[in-house]
Assembly symmetry: C2
Homo-oligomer: 230 residues x 2
Protein backbone atom coordinates (compact mmCIF):
# COMPACT_ATOMS: atom_id res chain seq x y z
CA UNK A 1 0.00 0.00 0.00
CA UNK A 2 1.34 3.39 -0.93
CA UNK A 3 1.58 6.28 1.49
CA UNK A 4 -1.00 8.27 -0.46
CA UNK A 5 -3.43 5.34 -0.35
CA UNK A 6 -2.90 4.93 3.38
CA UNK A 7 -3.64 8.59 4.03
CA UNK A 8 -6.70 8.54 1.79
CA UNK A 9 -8.09 5.34 3.27
CA UNK A 10 -7.56 6.55 6.79
CA UNK A 11 -9.45 9.75 6.21
CA UNK A 12 -12.13 7.98 4.16
CA UNK A 13 -12.69 5.53 7.00
CA UNK A 14 -13.07 8.34 9.53
CA UNK A 15 -15.59 10.04 7.26
CA UNK A 16 -17.62 6.89 6.66
CA UNK A 17 -17.63 6.00 10.33
CA UNK A 18 -19.12 9.36 11.16
CA UNK A 19 -16.15 10.48 13.23
CA UNK A 20 -15.62 13.31 10.72
CA UNK A 21 -19.00 14.85 10.02
CA UNK A 22 -20.09 16.78 6.95
CA UNK A 23 -18.75 20.29 7.08
CA UNK A 24 -15.83 19.35 9.30
CA UNK A 25 -12.66 21.13 8.28
CA UNK A 26 -9.66 18.92 7.66
CA UNK A 27 -6.12 20.00 8.49
CA UNK A 28 -4.33 22.06 5.88
CA UNK A 29 -1.79 20.24 3.79
CA UNK A 30 1.32 21.42 5.60
CA UNK A 31 -0.10 20.10 8.88
CA UNK A 32 -0.73 16.75 7.29
CA UNK A 33 2.82 16.74 5.98
CA UNK A 34 3.99 17.06 9.57
CA UNK A 35 1.46 14.54 10.88
CA UNK A 36 2.24 11.83 8.33
CA UNK A 37 5.88 12.61 7.82
CA UNK A 38 5.69 12.68 4.06
CA UNK A 39 5.98 15.30 1.34
CA UNK A 40 3.24 17.69 0.40
CA UNK A 41 2.84 16.13 -3.03
CA UNK A 42 1.86 12.85 -1.40
CA UNK A 43 -0.68 14.49 0.87
CA UNK A 44 -2.00 16.43 -2.10
CA UNK A 45 -2.45 13.26 -4.12
CA UNK A 46 -4.42 11.64 -1.32
CA UNK A 47 -6.63 14.68 -0.88
CA UNK A 48 -7.21 15.03 -4.62
CA UNK A 49 -8.34 11.42 -4.68
CA UNK A 50 -10.78 12.04 -1.82
CA UNK A 51 -12.13 15.08 -3.65
CA UNK A 52 -12.52 13.10 -6.88
CA UNK A 53 -14.46 10.45 -4.96
CA UNK A 54 -16.76 13.14 -3.61
CA UNK A 55 -15.86 12.54 0.02
CA UNK A 56 -14.43 16.00 0.54
CA UNK A 57 -14.63 19.41 -1.05
CA UNK A 58 -11.62 21.66 -1.38
CA UNK A 59 -11.61 25.42 -1.64
CA UNK A 60 -8.59 27.62 -1.99
CA UNK A 61 -7.85 29.78 0.97
CA UNK A 62 -10.74 28.15 2.82
CA UNK A 63 -9.48 24.59 3.24
CA UNK A 64 -10.78 21.05 2.78
CA UNK A 65 -14.14 20.02 4.18
CA UNK A 66 -16.03 16.78 4.57
CA UNK A 67 -18.75 16.76 1.91
CA UNK A 68 -22.41 16.10 2.44
CA UNK A 69 -23.16 12.49 1.46
CA UNK A 70 -24.66 12.09 -1.95
CA UNK A 71 -25.58 9.04 -3.93
CA UNK A 72 -26.34 10.60 -7.22
CA UNK A 73 -24.29 8.46 -9.46
CA UNK A 74 -23.03 4.95 -9.76
CA UNK A 75 -20.96 3.04 -12.20
CA UNK A 76 -23.25 1.09 -14.43
CA UNK A 77 -22.19 -2.05 -16.20
CA UNK A 78 -23.27 -1.61 -19.79
CA UNK A 79 -24.20 -4.82 -21.50
CA UNK A 80 -21.66 -6.33 -23.80
CA UNK A 81 -24.15 -9.04 -24.55
CA UNK A 82 -21.76 -11.73 -25.73
CA UNK A 83 -19.83 -11.36 -22.49
CA UNK A 84 -22.93 -11.44 -20.31
CA UNK A 85 -24.09 -14.63 -21.95
CA UNK A 86 -20.64 -16.16 -21.63
CA UNK A 87 -20.45 -15.31 -17.94
CA UNK A 88 -23.74 -17.09 -17.41
CA UNK A 89 -22.10 -20.20 -18.79
CA UNK A 90 -24.30 -20.27 -21.89
CA UNK A 91 -23.32 -20.35 -25.53
CA UNK A 92 -23.70 -17.02 -27.26
CA UNK A 93 -25.24 -16.73 -30.71
CA UNK A 94 -26.51 -14.07 -33.09
CA UNK A 95 -29.26 -14.29 -35.68
CA UNK A 96 -29.57 -11.57 -38.31
CA UNK A 97 -33.16 -10.61 -39.06
CA UNK A 98 -32.90 -7.64 -41.36
CA UNK A 99 -30.35 -5.48 -43.10
CA UNK A 100 -31.10 -2.55 -45.36
CA UNK A 101 -30.21 1.02 -46.23
CA UNK A 102 -31.87 3.59 -43.98
CA UNK A 103 -31.98 7.17 -42.82
CA UNK A 104 -30.95 8.64 -39.48
CA UNK A 105 -34.57 9.20 -38.53
CA UNK A 106 -35.61 5.59 -38.95
CA UNK A 107 -35.03 4.75 -35.29
CA UNK A 108 -35.80 8.10 -33.71
CA UNK A 109 -37.02 11.42 -34.96
CA UNK A 110 -34.59 13.53 -33.04
CA UNK A 111 -31.29 12.73 -34.70
CA UNK A 112 -29.91 16.11 -35.71
CA UNK A 113 -27.12 14.68 -37.81
CA UNK A 114 -28.46 13.54 -41.16
CA UNK A 115 -26.74 11.13 -43.48
CA UNK A 116 -26.89 7.63 -44.85
CA UNK A 117 -27.31 4.79 -42.40
CA UNK A 118 -27.25 1.04 -42.47
CA UNK A 119 -30.09 -0.57 -40.55
CA UNK A 120 -29.40 -3.92 -38.92
CA UNK A 121 -31.78 -5.91 -36.74
CA UNK A 122 -31.38 -9.28 -35.15
CA UNK A 123 -31.54 -11.43 -32.05
CA UNK A 124 -28.91 -12.28 -29.49
CA UNK A 125 -29.15 -15.89 -28.39
CA UNK A 126 -28.12 -17.57 -25.16
CA UNK A 127 -27.94 -21.35 -25.38
CA UNK A 128 -29.95 -21.18 -28.59
CA UNK A 129 -32.85 -19.29 -27.03
CA UNK A 130 -33.55 -15.58 -27.62
CA UNK A 131 -31.92 -13.37 -25.03
CA UNK A 132 -32.32 -9.89 -26.46
CA UNK A 133 -33.32 -8.21 -29.68
CA UNK A 134 -31.52 -5.32 -31.20
CA UNK A 135 -32.28 -2.69 -33.83
CA UNK A 136 -29.35 -0.61 -34.96
CA UNK A 137 -28.45 2.22 -37.27
CA UNK A 138 -24.83 2.60 -38.34
CA UNK A 139 -23.56 5.80 -39.93
CA UNK A 140 -21.90 4.93 -43.21
CA UNK A 141 -19.53 7.88 -43.27
CA UNK A 142 -18.19 7.20 -39.78
CA UNK A 143 -17.67 3.49 -40.32
CA UNK A 144 -15.76 2.70 -43.50
CA UNK A 145 -16.15 -0.87 -44.69
CA UNK A 146 -19.41 -1.48 -42.89
CA UNK A 147 -21.23 -2.16 -46.14
CA UNK A 148 -19.01 -5.17 -46.74
CA UNK A 149 -19.29 -6.49 -43.17
CA UNK A 150 -20.79 -9.93 -42.70
CA UNK A 151 -23.49 -9.45 -40.08
CA UNK A 152 -24.82 -12.93 -40.67
CA UNK A 153 -21.90 -14.26 -38.72
CA UNK A 154 -20.99 -11.50 -36.31
CA UNK A 155 -23.22 -9.17 -34.34
CA UNK A 156 -22.74 -5.56 -35.41
CA UNK A 157 -21.98 -4.47 -31.85
CA UNK A 158 -18.85 -6.58 -31.52
CA UNK A 159 -17.91 -5.86 -35.13
CA UNK A 160 -18.03 -2.14 -34.40
CA UNK A 161 -16.33 -2.41 -31.03
CA UNK A 162 -13.32 -4.00 -32.67
CA UNK A 163 -13.03 -1.29 -35.33
CA UNK A 164 -14.15 2.09 -34.07
CA UNK A 165 -11.24 3.81 -32.33
CA UNK A 166 -13.12 5.44 -29.51
CA UNK A 167 -16.47 6.74 -28.65
CA UNK A 168 -18.66 8.79 -26.45
CA UNK A 169 -21.98 7.31 -25.52
CA UNK A 170 -25.32 8.18 -24.03
CA UNK A 171 -27.63 5.58 -22.59
CA UNK A 172 -31.28 5.59 -21.85
CA UNK A 173 -32.82 2.85 -19.78
CA UNK A 174 -36.56 2.21 -19.78
CA UNK A 175 -39.16 -0.33 -18.92
CA UNK A 176 -41.49 -1.05 -21.84
CA UNK A 177 -44.17 -3.52 -22.74
CA UNK A 178 -43.10 -5.98 -25.41
CA UNK A 179 -44.64 -5.19 -28.78
CA UNK A 180 -46.26 -8.03 -30.70
CA UNK A 181 -43.26 -8.36 -32.99
CA UNK A 182 -40.71 -8.18 -30.19
CA UNK A 183 -42.64 -10.68 -28.11
CA UNK A 184 -42.64 -13.10 -31.04
CA UNK A 185 -38.91 -12.71 -31.55
CA UNK A 186 -38.18 -13.18 -27.87
CA UNK A 187 -40.65 -15.98 -27.27
CA UNK A 188 -42.51 -14.11 -24.55
CA UNK A 189 -46.04 -12.86 -24.11
CA UNK A 190 -47.06 -9.70 -25.88
CA UNK A 191 -47.07 -6.83 -23.38
CA UNK A 192 -44.62 -8.51 -21.02
CA UNK A 193 -42.30 -6.06 -19.25
CA UNK A 194 -38.94 -5.59 -20.90
CA UNK A 195 -35.82 -3.66 -20.10
CA UNK A 196 -35.05 -1.39 -23.02
CA UNK A 197 -31.59 0.07 -23.43
CA UNK A 198 -31.01 2.72 -26.04
CA UNK A 199 -27.48 3.83 -26.78
CA UNK A 200 -26.11 6.58 -28.98
CA UNK A 201 -22.43 6.46 -29.78
CA UNK A 202 -20.31 9.22 -31.25
CA UNK A 203 -16.81 9.57 -32.50
CA UNK A 204 -16.03 13.18 -31.89
CA UNK A 205 -18.99 15.12 -33.22
CA UNK A 206 -20.20 12.55 -35.73
CA UNK A 207 -22.61 9.83 -34.72
CA UNK A 208 -21.43 6.27 -35.16
CA UNK A 209 -24.32 4.09 -34.15
CA UNK A 210 -27.67 4.21 -32.46
CA UNK A 211 -29.02 1.00 -31.03
CA UNK A 212 -32.10 -0.15 -29.19
CA UNK A 213 -31.83 -3.41 -27.26
CA UNK A 214 -34.79 -5.07 -25.58
CA UNK A 215 -34.33 -7.69 -22.84
CA UNK A 216 -37.16 -9.69 -21.31
CA UNK A 217 -37.57 -8.34 -17.79
CA UNK A 218 -37.17 -11.71 -16.19
CA UNK A 219 -33.99 -12.57 -18.02
CA UNK A 220 -31.69 -9.67 -17.34
CA UNK A 221 -30.92 -7.06 -14.71
CA UNK A 222 -28.45 -4.25 -14.76
CA UNK A 223 -26.27 -4.10 -11.71
CA UNK A 224 -24.32 -1.08 -10.57
CA UNK A 225 -22.01 -0.59 -7.69
CA UNK A 226 -20.98 2.59 -6.04
CA UNK A 227 -18.43 2.78 -3.32
CA UNK A 228 -15.11 4.17 -2.29
CA UNK A 229 -13.14 4.72 -5.45
CA UNK A 230 -10.06 2.58 -6.16
Amino acid sequence: MTIAQAIRDGIAARIRSGELKPGHRLPVEHEMVAAYGCSRATVSKAMASLAAAGLIERRRKAGSFVARPHLEQAVLAVPDIARIVGERGEVYGWRLAERRAAKATDLADDDPHPGARLFVAGTHLAGGAPFAIERRLIALDAVPGVEEADFEREAPGSWLLARIPWSEARHRIDAVAASRADAMALGIASGAPCLRIERWTWRGASPVTHVVQVFPGDRYSLVARFGPSD
Copy 2:
Protein backbone atom coordinates in the same frame (compact mmCIF):
# COMPACT_ATOMS: atom_id res chain seq x y z
CA MET B 1 -5.16 24.49 -19.09
CA THR B 2 -2.42 22.67 -17.29
CA ILE B 3 0.48 20.97 -19.03
CA ALA B 4 -0.70 17.56 -17.88
CA GLN B 5 -4.18 18.22 -19.29
CA ALA B 6 -2.74 19.40 -22.58
CA ILE B 7 -0.64 16.24 -22.95
CA ARG B 8 -3.56 14.03 -22.02
CA ASP B 9 -6.03 15.75 -24.33
CA GLY B 10 -3.60 15.67 -27.22
CA ILE B 11 -3.04 11.95 -26.93
CA ALA B 12 -6.73 11.30 -26.27
CA ALA B 13 -7.67 13.19 -29.43
CA ARG B 14 -5.20 11.19 -31.51
CA ILE B 15 -6.61 7.96 -30.11
CA ARG B 16 -10.22 8.95 -30.71
CA SER B 17 -9.49 10.13 -34.22
CA GLY B 18 -8.03 6.77 -35.10
CA GLU B 19 -4.55 8.12 -35.73
CA LEU B 20 -3.26 5.99 -32.87
CA LYS B 21 -4.78 2.56 -33.25
CA PRO B 22 -5.38 -0.05 -30.57
CA GLY B 23 -2.15 -1.81 -29.70
CA HIS B 24 0.01 1.11 -30.80
CA ARG B 25 2.89 1.64 -28.44
CA LEU B 26 3.27 5.14 -27.07
CA PRO B 27 6.66 6.71 -26.38
CA VAL B 28 8.22 5.92 -23.03
CA GLU B 29 7.99 8.61 -20.41
CA HIS B 30 11.51 9.99 -20.76
CA GLU B 31 10.92 10.52 -24.49
CA MET B 32 7.76 12.42 -23.74
CA VAL B 33 9.65 14.50 -21.21
CA ALA B 34 11.97 15.53 -24.05
CA ALA B 35 9.12 16.01 -26.53
CA TYR B 36 6.98 18.18 -24.26
CA GLY B 37 9.77 19.86 -22.36
CA CYS B 38 8.28 19.13 -18.95
CA SER B 39 9.15 16.95 -16.00
CA ARG B 40 8.50 13.27 -15.81
CA ALA B 41 5.97 13.71 -13.00
CA THR B 42 3.80 15.79 -15.33
CA VAL B 43 3.98 13.24 -18.13
CA SER B 44 3.24 10.51 -15.61
CA LYS B 45 0.17 12.33 -14.36
CA ALA B 46 -1.18 12.70 -17.90
CA MET B 47 -0.56 9.05 -18.69
CA ALA B 48 -2.09 7.88 -15.41
CA SER B 49 -5.20 9.86 -16.28
CA LEU B 50 -5.40 8.24 -19.72
CA ALA B 51 -5.00 4.84 -18.12
CA ALA B 52 -7.73 5.60 -15.58
CA ALA B 53 -10.04 6.62 -18.43
CA GLY B 54 -9.36 3.30 -20.14
CA LEU B 55 -7.81 4.85 -23.22
CA ILE B 56 -4.42 3.26 -22.71
CA GLU B 57 -2.96 0.32 -20.84
CA ARG B 58 0.37 0.52 -19.12
CA ARG B 59 2.68 -2.37 -18.35
CA ARG B 60 5.98 -2.13 -16.58
CA LYS B 61 8.95 -2.86 -18.71
CA ALA B 62 6.66 -3.22 -21.74
CA GLY B 63 5.41 0.35 -22.15
CA SER B 64 2.09 2.11 -22.71
CA PHE B 65 -0.31 0.94 -25.38
CA VAL B 66 -3.52 2.23 -26.89
CA ALA B 67 -6.32 0.10 -25.43
CA ARG B 68 -8.98 -1.73 -27.35
CA PRO B 69 -12.16 0.33 -27.20
CA HIS B 70 -14.61 -0.88 -24.64
CA LEU B 71 -17.92 0.46 -23.49
CA GLU B 72 -18.47 -1.71 -20.50
CA GLN B 73 -19.35 0.89 -17.99
CA ALA B 74 -21.01 4.22 -17.76
CA VAL B 75 -21.83 6.64 -15.04
CA LEU B 76 -25.43 6.18 -14.07
CA ALA B 77 -27.49 8.91 -12.54
CA VAL B 78 -29.16 7.37 -9.52
CA PRO B 79 -32.53 8.79 -8.75
CA ASP B 80 -32.75 11.30 -5.97
CA ILE B 81 -36.46 11.44 -6.55
CA ALA B 82 -37.15 14.83 -5.03
CA ARG B 83 -34.51 16.35 -7.29
CA ILE B 84 -35.80 14.61 -10.40
CA VAL B 85 -39.28 15.88 -9.78
CA GLY B 86 -37.99 19.36 -9.09
CA GLU B 87 -35.99 19.40 -12.30
CA ARG B 88 -39.14 18.52 -14.20
CA GLY B 89 -40.70 21.65 -12.81
CA GLU B 90 -43.25 19.79 -10.74
CA VAL B 91 -43.94 20.00 -7.04
CA TYR B 92 -42.55 17.09 -5.07
CA GLY B 93 -44.53 15.34 -2.39
CA TRP B 94 -44.40 12.23 -0.24
CA ARG B 95 -47.23 10.14 1.17
CA LEU B 96 -46.51 7.61 3.88
CA ALA B 97 -48.44 4.39 3.47
CA GLU B 98 -47.07 2.09 6.13
CA ARG B 99 -44.57 2.02 8.95
CA ARG B 100 -43.86 -0.91 11.23
CA ALA B 101 -41.17 -2.97 12.88
CA ALA B 102 -39.71 -5.62 10.59
CA LYS B 103 -36.94 -8.14 10.02
CA ALA B 104 -34.09 -8.01 7.51
CA THR B 105 -35.71 -10.75 5.45
CA ASP B 106 -38.97 -8.91 4.93
CA LEU B 107 -37.89 -7.41 1.62
CA ALA B 108 -35.55 -10.13 0.38
CA ASP B 109 -34.51 -13.52 1.63
CA ASP B 110 -30.82 -13.10 1.01
CA ASP B 111 -29.84 -10.53 3.58
CA PRO B 112 -27.01 -12.16 5.51
CA HIS B 113 -26.94 -9.52 8.22
CA PRO B 114 -29.77 -10.09 10.66
CA GLY B 115 -31.10 -7.50 13.03
CA ALA B 116 -34.07 -5.29 13.75
CA ARG B 117 -35.40 -3.18 10.91
CA LEU B 118 -37.92 -0.46 10.42
CA PHE B 119 -40.16 -0.95 7.42
CA VAL B 120 -41.42 2.15 5.65
CA ALA B 121 -43.54 2.27 2.52
CA GLY B 122 -45.01 5.17 0.66
CA THR B 123 -45.48 7.05 -2.56
CA HIS B 124 -43.46 9.82 -4.14
CA LEU B 125 -45.67 12.41 -5.77
CA ALA B 126 -45.04 14.78 -8.65
CA GLY B 127 -47.56 17.56 -8.94
CA GLY B 128 -49.87 15.63 -6.64
CA ALA B 129 -49.89 12.51 -8.83
CA PRO B 130 -48.02 9.29 -7.97
CA PHE B 131 -44.56 9.20 -9.47
CA ALA B 132 -42.97 6.21 -7.77
CA ILE B 133 -43.61 3.88 -4.90
CA GLU B 134 -41.03 2.79 -2.43
CA ARG B 135 -40.65 0.02 0.13
CA ARG B 136 -37.74 0.35 2.50
CA LEU B 137 -36.06 -1.39 5.37
CA ILE B 138 -33.84 0.62 7.68
CA ALA B 139 -31.42 -1.04 10.09
CA LEU B 140 -32.10 0.26 13.58
CA ASP B 141 -28.59 -0.24 14.89
CA ALA B 142 -26.97 1.65 12.02
CA VAL B 143 -29.33 4.59 12.15
CA PRO B 144 -29.77 6.02 15.64
CA GLY B 145 -32.84 8.14 16.07
CA VAL B 146 -34.73 6.63 13.17
CA GLU B 147 -37.51 5.42 15.45
CA GLU B 148 -38.32 9.01 16.32
CA ALA B 149 -38.14 10.27 12.73
CA ASP B 150 -41.28 11.77 11.25
CA PHE B 151 -41.77 9.98 7.97
CA GLU B 152 -45.20 11.48 7.52
CA ARG B 153 -43.54 14.71 6.53
CA GLU B 154 -40.23 13.68 5.04
CA ALA B 155 -39.39 10.73 2.79
CA PRO B 156 -37.00 8.35 4.49
CA GLY B 157 -34.52 8.58 1.63
CA SER B 158 -33.81 12.26 2.09
CA TRP B 159 -33.98 11.89 5.87
CA LEU B 160 -31.29 9.23 5.70
CA LEU B 161 -29.18 11.06 3.15
CA ALA B 162 -28.91 14.03 5.46
CA ARG B 163 -27.83 11.90 8.43
CA ILE B 164 -25.82 8.88 7.38
CA PRO B 165 -22.18 9.85 7.08
CA TRP B 166 -21.28 7.83 4.04
CA SER B 167 -22.27 4.72 2.25
CA GLU B 168 -21.49 2.07 -0.23
CA ALA B 169 -24.30 1.01 -2.48
CA ARG B 170 -25.33 -1.69 -4.87
CA HIS B 171 -28.07 -1.19 -7.41
CA ARG B 172 -30.15 -3.57 -9.38
CA ILE B 173 -32.28 -2.36 -12.25
CA ASP B 174 -35.11 -4.42 -13.65
CA ALA B 175 -38.23 -4.26 -15.72
CA VAL B 176 -41.24 -5.74 -13.95
CA ALA B 177 -44.96 -5.92 -14.41
CA ALA B 178 -46.87 -3.80 -11.92
CA SER B 179 -48.50 -5.87 -9.21
CA ARG B 180 -52.15 -5.23 -8.43
CA ALA B 181 -51.26 -3.26 -5.31
CA ASP B 182 -48.51 -1.27 -7.00
CA ALA B 183 -50.73 -0.49 -9.96
CA MET B 184 -53.40 0.84 -7.61
CA ALA B 185 -50.92 3.02 -5.77
CA LEU B 186 -49.47 4.39 -9.00
CA GLY B 187 -52.74 4.81 -10.81
CA ILE B 188 -51.73 2.58 -13.71
CA ALA B 189 -52.98 -0.66 -15.17
CA SER B 190 -52.11 -3.88 -13.41
CA GLY B 191 -49.30 -5.59 -15.31
CA ALA B 192 -48.03 -2.38 -16.88
CA PRO B 193 -44.25 -2.31 -17.35
CA CYS B 194 -42.35 -0.59 -14.58
CA LEU B 195 -38.74 0.25 -13.95
CA ARG B 196 -37.73 -1.28 -10.65
CA ILE B 197 -34.67 -0.03 -8.84
CA GLU B 198 -33.41 -1.90 -5.83
CA ARG B 199 -30.64 -0.43 -3.74
CA TRP B 200 -28.68 -1.79 -0.83
CA THR B 201 -26.65 0.67 1.17
CA TRP B 202 -23.96 -0.07 3.68
CA ARG B 203 -21.90 1.86 6.12
CA GLY B 204 -18.73 -0.12 6.36
CA ALA B 205 -19.80 -3.73 6.84
CA SER B 206 -23.20 -3.03 8.36
CA PRO B 207 -26.26 -2.56 6.19
CA VAL B 208 -28.05 0.75 6.49
CA THR B 209 -31.03 0.49 4.22
CA HIS B 210 -32.51 -1.63 1.50
CA VAL B 211 -35.06 -0.03 -0.77
CA VAL B 212 -37.18 -1.05 -3.73
CA GLN B 213 -38.54 1.76 -5.89
CA VAL B 214 -40.98 1.18 -8.73
CA PHE B 215 -41.50 3.76 -11.49
CA PRO B 216 -44.13 3.50 -14.19
CA GLY B 217 -42.24 2.74 -17.40
CA ASP B 218 -43.71 5.67 -19.22
CA ARG B 219 -42.89 8.19 -16.55
CA TYR B 220 -39.20 7.77 -15.91
CA SER B 221 -35.99 6.78 -17.71
CA LEU B 222 -32.52 6.43 -16.37
CA VAL B 223 -29.92 8.25 -18.39
CA ALA B 224 -26.22 7.55 -18.36
CA ARG B 225 -23.40 9.24 -20.11
CA PHE B 226 -19.99 7.91 -20.81
CA GLY B 227 -17.25 9.88 -22.40
CA PRO B 228 -13.75 11.14 -22.01
CA SER B 229 -13.14 11.62 -18.32
CA ASP B 230 -12.78 15.11 -16.88
